[in-house]
Amino acid sequence: MSDARTGAAGRGSSVLQAGARGLGRWWHVCTRSPRAEATCIGVLSAVAVVALWQVASTRWLPSILFPTPLRTLEAWAAMVWEGVLPYHVVVSLVRIAAGFVVGTLIGVPVGLAMGLFPPVLILLEPYVQFFRFVPPVAWIIPAILWFGIGETSKIFLIFYTTVFLVLFNTMVGVSAVARNQIRSAQCFGASRRQLFLWVSLPGTLPYVLTGMRLAMGNSFAAVVGAEFIAAQSGLGFLIVDSGTWMATDRMFAGMLTLGLLGILTDQLFHAASARWASRYLLLP
């Protein structure tokens, strides 16, 4: 193995040997246990996708239309540094928060009322069952006509998204309370108030939380849609505006942020539920 004998070809083959040995060792590590295999496949697939993306955007597609992963990350960092991204994100989040809070505050009591009192159910059910199928984005045009291009129109859309989902899930939750739970409480002489506060409400809580989680997820889509069509700020505006100026790297960065935000809020929701409402989420 003296240097005089290896030369260029020798060096090449030793690289190959090292590579093959490394590959072999990696394979050995990966197939050692199912968990290891899962992680390895995950890593491999992530690397593969990014690599594919890189190759696609540099070799196969015009890079102006399809930014490379690197450029996307650069654009992302630049926008954060400039404060552009945080600003638009906060704008969108505020709209979502406002609409979500109002929607929940109205959706839960109405859903409870519909679940507990047949007259209320009969009164409101046709509308709930109908407007459930009208997507929130459809309302953006009337909302602009009524409320102008300001914040209210978007908050209205989020409110609409939230209230139906929360209401519907709450309503379903009330009827999901086991009949025997109510009967045994009746045996114990519980008043209607006690039945409501101590049996119906805790039993409905998991459904309310599901409705809220679904509403949160849908709210992102709704706000982005609204911001495409009629806004001068917000994450949706950022995306569509970047697209208009062919700044595809910023556009991708915006989309990435949207996805991450969705995941983040969903995780936060799960964590909050686990921390404060875990006993109500226990299965019988």
């Binding site: 496949i41 239309l65 046709p126 009208v134 602009i144 495409f228 995306i239 697209g243 989309m255």
Partner: protein, 263 residues
């Protein structure tokens, strides 16, 4: 909850009363509203709707939207079912694809509209691609869950009868998963309406979304209301059809009444 045949009739009556009351109230209030332009009455909306139908424009927009949805939905469902089955059957495939499923679940089709418009223009192809995207993930996820939830004893029973793996796959796994596929498709359909409307609002010259959009151009709010009502009815009919299919045609496939869901 209320039950029984007589109560169902009473319930229907209750609905009718409720709807009539609200319509009446709406009619009354919109007459006295400050700017009738902003909030047209039900009669005025109906009038405009009938006008459009007479001219054939309503039908054109309706079919435009429906056509796009059907094309994209079918494509997405086919790919979704195939992917879901593959992921359910092979642990490796599942590990490979599942992370993307879960990430892209949080990137709604809506978000891709500007990008897809840049790449594919504003034609039908772009919209169909978006609709396929909307459909594929939910269908794949639900199908995958369905394959995993095939009762183990059903597979074991087949094995004890000497069934080969391929037979088990086609005679046990697939039938047991049908209900889940249908649930995924029903959920995806709802999202398709959202995507198609958004796409048509942003860049289109036909379809229900465009109809709603045009209300701003022509300063005729009735157009938006017509579009919204049609969307609601379409959604109701589509959902109803899915449930009918589950209960009438596919009742023998366990759980096909749409009670299992993943979102």
């Amino acid at each position: 909850m209320i039950g029984g045949k007589r109560s169902a009739g009473l319930r229907g009556l209750g609905y009718a009363v409720s709807i009539l009351v609200v319509l009446g109230l709406w009619q009354y209030l919109s007459r006295r509203a400050i700017i009738p332009l902003l909030f047209p009455s039900p009669l005025s909306t109906l009038h405009v709707g009938l006008e459009l139908a007479r001219k054939g424009q309503l039908q054109a927009d309706l079919w435009a939207s429906l056509g796009r949805i059907l094309a994209g939905f079918t494509l997405g469902s086919a790919v979704g079912v195939a992917a879901g089955i593959l992921m359910g059957a092979s642990r490796r495939v599942r590990l490979l694809l599942e992370p993307y499923l879960h990430f892209l679940r949080f990137l709604p089709a809506l978000a891709w509209i500007p990008a897809v418009m840049l790449w594919l223009g504003t034609g039908e192809g772009a919209k169909i691609a978006l609709l396929a995207y909307t459909t594929v993930f939910i269908v794949a996820l639900n199908t995958m869950v369905g394959v995993a939830r095939v009762p183990r004893n059903q597979v074991r029973a087949a094995r004890s009868f000497g069934a080969a793996r391929r037979q088990i796959f086609f005679l046990v796994t697939i039938p047991a998963t049908v209900a889940y596929m249908l649930t995924g498709m029903r959920l995806a359909m709802g999202n398709c309406f959202m995507t198609v409307v958004a796409a048509e609002l942003v860049a289109s010259d036909s379809g229900l979304g465009y109809l709603i959009f045009s209300s701003r151009q022509w300063m005729q709010t009735e157009l938006a209301f017509v579009g919204i009502f049609l969307l609601g009815f379409l959604g109701l009919i589509a959902d109803h059809m899915f449930r009918m299919t589950s209960t009438r045609l596919l009742w023998r496939y366990e759980g096909a009444s749409g009670s299992r869901t993943t979102r």
